[in-house]
Structures are given as structure tokens and as C-alpha cells.
Amino acid sequence: MLNHRFTKLVLPVMLAVIVVLSACSNKGGSEPSASPTGTTDSSPSPSASAAAPESNDDGLFNVSDFNNIKTNEGEAIAGGTLNYGLVSDTPFAGTLNFNFYSGQPDVEVLGWFDEPLLTWDASYVYTNDGAATYEVSEDGRTFTFTIRDNVNWQDGTPLTAEDWEFAHEVIGHPDYDGPRYDGGMINVQGMAEYHDGKADKISGIEVLSDKQLRITYIESNPSLITGGIWSYPLAKHIFKDIPVKEMSASAAVRQKPVGIGPFKVESIVPGESVVFVKNPDYWRGEPKLDKVVLRVVNPSNVVQEIKTGGVDIVGSFPVDQFPDNAGLSNVEWLGAVDRAYTYIGFKLGTWDAAANKVKPNPDAKMSDVNLRKAMWMAVDNDAVGKQFYNGLRWNATTLIPPSHPEYHDASNPGITYDPEAAKKLLDDAGYKLNGDFRTKPDGSELTITFISMTGSEIAEPLSRYYVQAWKEIGLNVQLEMIEFNAFYNRVGDTGEDDPSVDVYQAAWGVGIDVDPAGLYGREAIYNFSRYASDENDRLLAEGLSEKAFDKEYRLKVYKEWQELMVQEVPVFPTLYRAKVVPVNNRVHNYYIGDGTDMYVYNIAVNADKAIAAK
């Protein structure tokens, strides 16, 4: 549960802050949050082997050995209190509303008391299992939503279609200060006019009745139904008298938030803890737990908290601390593939601010594809994953990670580690050894600047390892470790790329829709490598075309795109990642990942107190 697509805030504990790839399709905050819905054909079945995953002989782990659903032990008791640890080294910001929040920690709080109206299946396509159902028109642009009758705000007021419309109006309001006015919002017909003050109403949104809403979108494509709809209503009866620019600071957001989820906020200690009590009128049914206590746990203390039973579950767990604690007797470890990858990018051009698109530079230092390929060949990511992460991060092959099992092309091996071949490739391409290092084909000196982010303790040795590996094949690479803000500034998040940067290491958290145009398209400012080609444009457009509503076709297109990226190497993925979380043995019905067909309100415990480790 509690999956978050928005891992974009700076989390200094991670290597290379994950920034979300939500691509213009995932529409900002259509957050697959608290209650992932599932289809029954969903992923790993709760197998019989309940024990903690065993490492193999080398102390290595594999994500496929983990369950993502907790094995229930004993009989659940009625009621009980669950202790949830929000692992973060900063307090949560406390913007407790889906329409306004911007940080990962807040999502974890939100997930307990609020939920989206629409839910989705394992391939992230909207389903009709949620608090609202939908029908699509023939041309795929007009959606008619029907809210279930028994869906109420936690203060007893029925949820209406107007609340849903109101959320759109607030986000589109010129005074709105949150991050949700994004590509998805602009895709609503009439939104831009409303935002610019040219219209009083959003023409594409129509309230049909108390419980029915119709939204017309400008463009229809496959990613509209995988996260392209804003499905978080805003309680109009509470917010209607608050000026838009004061909403995010208001008590209704920060102190007494009201949602539609299975638990209600009872009390908040700002930034550090929240107590929830069950919402007996929850539309799916009465929650099993009486109470949930959430508190912030520092990543450096999380192991102790888990050992002593101070918390039953945590939202995330620092993967480098897992191997030492794999054998904890009081928990079961759940694991799933994370929607993220680490990568190394090559600067191939600049950003043309006037034309709003990338401007490839054929004379860039890294413009020779052989050089880029050789640099990929030179690094042993398999060893990196095994040694630094005990197998919980592993060699990445393509730019669509295995968190999207259908779209990830497992048959594509990427480029494999082979330093000898890398040397040969460079020799053949004219990069001759001159002393320790190679020169450019024209005989001039070749010095490559590589920047990487500080943050986790692994960050520096990892980056240094890459520099060493490149030295092995004769490349003179200079490493600069810089902090998150400075890093993205130099890579070019505002379009002003630092020309001294040649290679950079970063990570993306990917959205639920696979469309990579937001990161690799010609018009994407976050296409930091500034790579563009006609073939790339074509494939990215095909992936969103009418024809791509046919899944087989879309699969084929993205398979080709993955291969193109392996051939062209504007960036190369280095590591895929698993997320693992410990769950106390007394907990029932807990799950992580999508498409499990399980819901928050069913979580229960089998004893009054958490079990401590022996």
C-alpha cells in the first residue's frame, strides 16, 4: 500500500535524488496513492514460504524472492493500534491535501485518510472499482464519472460532483501555489482559458448531477487512462470561503484535514506525528484497526525502532541496512521492484530556450557514439549492485525499468560489461592511447568532466568506482561531487546548461505510464542529455498515437524505442532498484506495490503489542 509516484522532493538519504518521470501523460498528481486497486490476475501470489527471503551463498538477495503481500499469522483480533514509521530525516511538511502537497513524506500521511476516486489495475489502467466509476465516449475524449452513493467526507457531508469540479477550479486558479497545474490539467478543455482569466468556468467540465461529472479532454491518448485524470476532489463546503492563495496554509489543510479514506485524522503534532482513528462510515466497509499512529523515524534509527517493535511497518527502508537485518525474527520482509532507475547521461547539446526544444550539438565532446558505448561497456554494474547493494539493486539494461513488466524488454541485454571490447572499440574509433590516457581522434587531449550528486554515503564511492573503471580503458575522467541543487542547476533544469559538464549521474523515479517523452523528447527540458533524432521523435509520437490504444502495438513501439536508446546511448541506465520493507509479524493484510487487490481498510493485527526481535 501507500505507493507514491511523487518521490521528487530532495531526500538526501538516497543516491541521486529520484525525480519523477511522470511524462506529460501522468498528469501531475493523479497519485497512485493510498489504495491501489488491483485486478485478480495480479502479480506475485502470497506463497506458502513465509520466512524471510534467504540470501544465496554469497550473501546476495534477489527481488523476486520477496513477497509483496504479508503472510498472515494467527487470528486477527478486533481493533488494535498499528504503529507506522514514516522514514525521513526531515519532519513532514504538513500540507495534508492531495491538491496541494508537494513532498513525499506528506503523501505517506495522506494515504491513510484520503484516497483518489479512481483506482487502477496492475498495468496502471483506471478501473471501475474505486469510489467513482467512469465511462468513455467513442472518441476517447469525454469521460463521464459517477460517484458511488455511499461516499462521504469524513465530516458526514456527501461527496458531490461539484467537489471534483472545484478541485479543478482551484488548481487552475491563477493564485494556486501548488505543483499540480501541469500537462494533465492543461489537457482539460477550457482549462488554459480559465487559468488565463479569459473564462469564468472551465468549459470542459460539466456537473451533470450531485453524483455525476463529465470532463472533456483536448487530446486523447493511451496515457490519459493511465494517470491522466485528476481524481482528487476538494471539499467545497469547507474550502469555498477560503481565498485560493491561502488554502494551502489553512487549518483545513494543516490541522483538521478531512478526507474520504478509511481513517480519520484525530490529532497532529506538526511535522512529527499523526494519530488516526477508524472511519466507521468508510465506503468500502468498516476498517479493522481502531487506530493508526504515524510518526517520523530518522533513517539512522529505523532498524532499532523495528527491532524493538516501536513501529510495526515503515513507509520505506534504507536498502543498505537490509543485509545486516535480513534475519530479524520479528518481521517479514516484503519486496517489490521500484519504479525508478539510476543512469549516466552524456551531454550532447544545449537547450534552445527561444524555440523551447533541445539543440543537439554534433561537435559535442561526447557526440561519438563509440565513446559512449565504450563507457557503458567499461562499467561493471552487476558487481556494483552485488557489492554495494547485496543484489537489491542490479544491472540495468534499458530505459523502461522492470517495474513495468509488460513494457520492460527483458530480452534486450543492453550493453554488457566488457572492458577489453571497450578498449578495442576506442582503438578502432581513433582514440589512441598516449601514455595513461587516450586522446581524441584528432590527437588533442581528452578530459571528461563527470558530475554526480552527494547525498547517500554510497554516492561518492560509487561515482569514484565509475571514474576508476573509465581509467581502466584509458579515459581521463574528472569527478565532481556536488549537492542536489547545484547539480540540477548545472545539468540544466532551467535550460541553462553548464558547458563544462560532459557526463552526469542521476536517477529518475518513473511514473505509472511508460511514455518517456517527458524525459527524452525533443521538447522536454528534462531531456538533460539534449539528445534528439528523427527516429526518436517518431517512436515517441507513435507510442501516444491512436494506434497505440492497441496494447500490442504500443508494446512493439516501446520495445523499438528501448533498442534505439541502447544503440544511440544518449544516456545509459546503470541500476534498477528494489524496495524492501519490514512488517511486524503481528500485522495482517499488508502489501506493497500495485495491483494486489488489497485495501488499507483490511489491514489488521493479531496481538495488542508489536513483537520485539529476539
Binding site: 532498524v303 543498505d320 541496512q321 561493471d380 560509487l462 569514484r464 568506482y465 576508476q468 565532481e480 547545484a486
Partner: protein, 305 residues
Amino acid sequence: MIHPPPNDIPLLQNEAFAARSPSSLTILWREIVRDKIALVSLVFIVIVTAFVYITSLVLDQEQIVRVDLFALNKAPSAEHWLGTDYGGRDIFGQLIIGTRNSLTIAFLVTMLTGIIGISIGVISGYFGGMIDNFFMRVVDFFLILPFLMIVIAFIAVVPKYSIYSFTLIMTAFLWMGIARLIRSKALQERELDYIKASRTVGTSHAGIIFKHVLPNLSSIIIVSMTLNLAANIGLESGLSFLGFGFPEDTPSLGTLVSYARNAQTLESRPWIWLPASSLILVLMLSINNVGQALKRAADARQRRG
């Protein structure tokens, strides 16, 4: 630990003995030799310093910071005397180079703050009047700055900082204590008859400052710089601990200690952080011992025999 930049507290403590302070450096030396603990401490400091500076000439620094994927977090062994860290880097080598770096920075900062502080202190104390007024306003301003926060903010600004930028940032906010101390002493000195006398004989201001005022203040200068040295080692390690100290690829005592923030390292891999922590403790203890002995020597009433 992080003590506030030594300003008013030591100043007022010193006030009591200042008037009677003897000028001869031999008294300081004699006091150290008499105080066995201080002597041992001094010898220890000299040995450690000499050892790390000489050894680090021999050590292959690149080899030490080299990442070895297949030797992560190894316990001490014949190959790695103090084990390795999470990057497979030898802790013993890092300890040597780290100690050298930490000492270098502490020395540099102490010297620089000393030079700036003494110059400003002597000038404003000796000349008094407008000059004094101006400098004291500047000092007052620097004293109200919340040291740690300003330094952290500065470090966040410098995009790529090195030992030198780090030294400069520290120096910029640590010279006031000694400036105030020296100023108050110089103020007293200039009222003394012999200074007035040499002025009437026509000795230049510079001559008086270098021949009379500074030599008379030498013991106080040495005492306060010694104590500053210990404080600066503590500051460096504290800032590194918070993640705002040395750049990551430059080992230092502080960065080694900061590994202990990881609970796993703290609990089960003591070889990473314990040697550096103990070394900081012992070094600071030794420097303080010497400093306290010097202080006693400078204060006639507490001198031991």
C-alpha cells in the same frame, strides 16, 4: 565538542591575570616541563603530528581513496590494519591522511585567525580613538552572527569548495575572539610608562608595537592560540559530521566520525569510527592540557613553583 568561538568567556577569565603576566616565553616552557601531564601531552602531539605528516608523504594517497568493490566494510586484518569503509577504502590510511588534513586545517585556521585577530587587536588597542571604535563595531557585528549557521550557509554557496575555501570561510568568522583579547591587553599596555617614554624619545608606532607591545603579549597570544587550535579541530569535525565540512573525497577526522551516523556502522563496525573518535578525544585533551599549563604559567598566582 563545539564550544562557541572563544570570545568573551576566556577574555574575562584572562582579565584577572593579565596585568601581572610575565613576558618571557621561558616561563611558559618551564611550566610545561614541570607539569608532567602537559609534557607528555606535548610530546604526544609532536609525535602524532610528525608521524602523520611524514607517513602521508610515503603513502600513496590515490591508492587509499581508491574504491574497491570487493572489500567493502571489511573488519581489521593484516592487509587493512583498521579494516575498510563502505567504499572498500583502507581506514588506517584514511586515518593518517585524515588526521593530517584535520591538523592542517586547524593549524591554518588558527594561524590565519591569529594573524588577523592580533593585527586588528593591536592596531585598535594601541591607537584607540576612531580606529578602535571602527574596528570594535566590526567585531561586534561579527560576534552577533550565529557562527554555525552562517558557516553552513556559506558552504552551501561555494559550489565546489576545497580545503582552502573551507579554511577561509572558517577564518572569516573566528578571528574576533582573539582580536578582542589582544585589543584589551594592548589598551592596557599603551598606558604603561615605558611605552609613553619611548614615544617621547621618538620611536615609531611600528617600532613600539613590534618591539614592546607584541613581545609583552606573547604569552597570552600563545595561550589563546593553543586553546583555539583544540577548538578548531572540534569545529572541523563537527561541521564534517553535519555534512558541511570537508569535501567527501578528502578524508578527515570529522568525515571518519560521521560514518557513525549510520546505526549499522555505529553498532557493528566500530573500526570505522572509533579510531578517529578516540584520536580526536586524545588530541583535544592533549592540546588542552598544554594550553591549561601555559595558561597557568601566564597567570603568576597559579604557577606551580
